[in-house]
């Protein structure tokens, strides 16, 4: 059953200051227009006051069936929030249509409308009513909500005395008990402690499985998207670029920043962190042509160009290896006895990855040194320094694909079996 249909949806914003609009300016414009003069409030050297238009969402269409759990992913400014705002009716579309077959509850923020002076209990009623519940509905559920929020002890205390964690828990507890058919969440699960996050995800899963609710979840955290969603929509610059299966969607989203390249340079300062005594300029895969794809028995050989502010005799490099799902897989380091001169340096490194399971991996590259007590000082670290892919040989793993969710990231050597002769 179709519960939501989005057709050719567009939203256009006006760029620049809309509010050059003190009342005086508005009258001046009006007067100038009447006399056929140019707009006097227009900034000098600019021909259009009502500047350029910005299309936040451009001709997006999709259909959602009842009970689906949809993840919406995309980079900042891709139009995720705009889409959510349009669906939750916070602002009106410029063009297109959204058809809904059920109530929408949107949690764009935890505890919308919480008033600091009111007690937890009063705020449950308040928040519930804002999200569209009737008082009688809340009456029925209040015990469950309090139980879920883990705030029973403080429920009759004004929320201004709450810790931020309790605040979030209470807010989520209300939203989790909404009776609406469609639940929209904007990355609210990023807060709260791990245990509560897990509880929230389980609750969302339960709502969708047992009560057939449809969930739209916006997040940058691919881990939660994986756990919660069974379909993803990828937006980029206002366009829908992918709609379908979760893993492929995440790959599509990640792919645009993390490409398989033989040579990687790190000019962008935002990618660097550390005390600045070392500056890593570039890394390149040695003895490779085409793409950094590795088969059984191949070692990764990397050449690193870097600049040292002073001479070191105890420098070390380490690779922190992440999976394409942003899960940290492991760490590898050199010995901390690398001698470098002040100025430009080059070093070749090599790592054996025979035990790494097949898949795409991202490496954070860091240069550091360790003092006698074992404290590390990071001199430079580059995020997403390079990407490589490990591929199975045809006869490996009994011709099965590797399932990371079940099997993890270590592929041990084949088990030897001793059959009786």
């Amino acid at each position: 059953m179709v519960i939501m249909k989005v057709e050719n949806l567009s939203k256009v914003y006006m760029l620049g200051q809309i509010a050059q609009t003190t009342l005086r300016d508005a009258f001046q414009r009006l007067g100038a227009k009447a006399q056929g003069k140019k707009d006097p409030t227009r900034p000098i050297g600019q021909d259009f006051v009502h500047g350029e238009l910005f299309t936040a969402l451009d001709d997006v269409s999709f259909t959602i069936n009842k009970g689906e759990r949809i993840g919406i992913i995309g980079h900042n400014g891709a139009g995720k929030s705009t889409l959510i705002k349009l669906i939750s009716q916070v602002t009106a579309p410029t063009d297109g249509m959204i058809g809904l077959n059920g109530r929408v509850a949107s949690m764009l923020e935890v505890g919308t409308g919480f008033h600091l002076e009111l007690t937890g209990r009063e705020n449950i009623y308040m928040n519930g009513a804002i999200l569209g519940m009737r008082k009688s509905e809340i009456d029925e559920k209040i015990e469950d909500i309090i139980e879920f929020s883990e705030c029973r002890k403080f429920i009759d205390t004004p929320v201004k005395r709450y810790s931020s964690g309790m605040f979030v828990k209470l807010g989520f507890a209300v939203a989790a008990h909404l009776d609406s058919e469609i639940v929209i969440m904007d990355e609210v699960l990023a807060v709260g402690d791990m245990a509560f996050q897990k509880k929230c995800l389980d609750k969302m899963n339960e709502l969708s499985r047992d009560k057939g609710k449809t969930i739209l979840y916006v997040s940058h955290n691919m881990g939660t998207i994986r756990r919660l969603c069974n379909r993803v929509i990828v937006l980029e610059k206002g366009h829908l670029i992918y709609d379908g299966e979760v893993e492929a969607g995440i790959e599509c989203y990640m792919g645009s920043t993390r490409k398989l390249e033989l040579v990687n340079t790190y000019e962008d300062e935002n990618r660097h962190s550390g005390d600045g005594q070392i500056w890593i300029n570039q890394s390149c895969f040695l003895d490779k042509t085409g793409f950094p794809i590795f088969y059984k028995g191949e070692n990764i050989r990397i050449g690193v160009d870097f600049k040292a502010e002073k001479a070191f005799d105890d420098l070390a490099f380490r690779w922190v290896i992440y999976s394409s799902a942003d899960v940290s897989v492991g760490m590898a380091t050199t010995k901390s006895d690398i001698r470098v001169e002040q100025g430009d340096n080059h070093i070749n490194t090599e790592l054996n990855i025979d035990w790494l399971s097949p898949g795409k991996y991202i490496v954070y590259l860091a240069a550091y040194s360790v003092d006698v007590y074992g404290n590390a000082a990071i001199h430079d670290m580059v995020t997403d320094a390079f990407v490589f892919e490990k591929v199975l040989m045809v006869d490996e793993n009994n011709r099965m694909d590797w399932h990371h969710n079940e099997w993890g990231y270590v592929m041990f050597p084949e088990i030897k079996h001793m059959t009786k002769e």
Partner: protein
């Protein structure tokens, strides 16, 4: 493909679709907003709602001194030999004015004050101004109570021309009209304050002036006959004079003018709803 949806969101805007039915479904929210306003206003105060009494009491005392004793303005709405305590006269005007001006002023800011909530979740936006109009009624009722107590005191004490008449039954109707009028006027301005914040300054200033164009600091008798035609077009005027008539049993009433004031109130409210409805859809992009 023609599928049927319970709800459709499009870019089209129906001018007359005021979401009144939907607003009614959210009546629980209206009352929660009212309750929130009330509790949050008086939490951690000692006197609590008693504060509502102090403001009209003080301004009435000032009015008695300035307009009553110093300027010696008339308190009569019609010519005749009536005896009316000045204190009661000024208070009747002041409590009505306080209700009107606070409701109006808060309604003009309704989008700005609630933008954080409205930017995050949908509910019929009309819920907010309605709850403002109702929540301002609470201090008004307290003030009215004080007024009625004073009124009873003078009634029992005697020596004044105050009598109880069937006009008293008009009071609820007058209060209703005041609610609709102040909300309607506030809605019209609220549609523009999202774009032009300077209107808010103008409102404070304009209210100060409007106050002296209403028969609050003086009786209607002070207004020359030649101005009357325009003067009574201000829908507040018939409300104020009829309010006094209802309590004091004597005063000015003209059925035609009173009906006109209802028509004006109705038009203002309708225009207000239209403006509000048009603004509501896109104000989040502007504010």
């Amino acid at each position: 493909m023609t599928e049927q949806f319970k709800k459709k969101i499009t870019s089209e805007h129906k001018m007359l679709d005021l979401h009144l039915r939907e607003t009614f479904q959210y009546k629980d929210l209206i009352f929660l907003f009212v309750k929130r306003d009330f509790t949050s206003r008086y939490k951690q105060t000692i006197l609590g709602p008693l504060w509502a009494v102090i403001q009209p009491l003080l301004s009435t005392i000032v009015f008695v001194i300035v307009f009553g004793k110093l300027a010696n303005l008339t308190t009569a709405d019609v010519a005749g030999d009536f005896c009316l305590p000045q204190f009661l006269f000024y208070m009747s005007g002041n409590i009505c004015w306080i209700y009107f001006s606070t409701t109006f002023e808060t309604t003009t800011k309704v989008f700005i004050d609630n933008s954080s909530v409205m930017g995050k979740v949908y509910f019929p936006r009309l819920v907010s101004p309605i709850s403002v109009t109702i929540s301002k009624l609470i201090p008004f009722v307290i003030q009215l109570g004080m007024f009625v107590a004073l009124w009873l005191f003078y009634l029992v004490k005697g020596g004044t021309s105050i009598i109880i008449t069937p006009w008293l039954l008009l009071v609820p109707l007058l209060i209703l009209q005041m609610m609709l009028l102040s909300m309607g006027l506030g809605l019209i301005i609220s549609a523009f304050t999202t774009r032009y914040r300077d209107l808010l300054m103008l409102v404070t200033f304009g209210l100060e002036i409007l106050r002296y164009f209403c028969p609050i600091a003086y009786g209607l008798q002070l207004v020359p006959q030649s101005f009357r035609g325009i003067y009574v077009l201000n829908p507040l005027t018939p409300i104020l004079t009829t309010f006094r008539l209802a309590f004091f049993g004597f005063g000015y009433f003209n059925l035609f003018e009173y009906l006109i004031s209802w028509v004006v109130t109705g038009v203002i409210l309708f225009v207000g709803l239209l403006c509000f409805n048009k603004t509501e859809r896109n104000f989040m992009d502007i504010i």
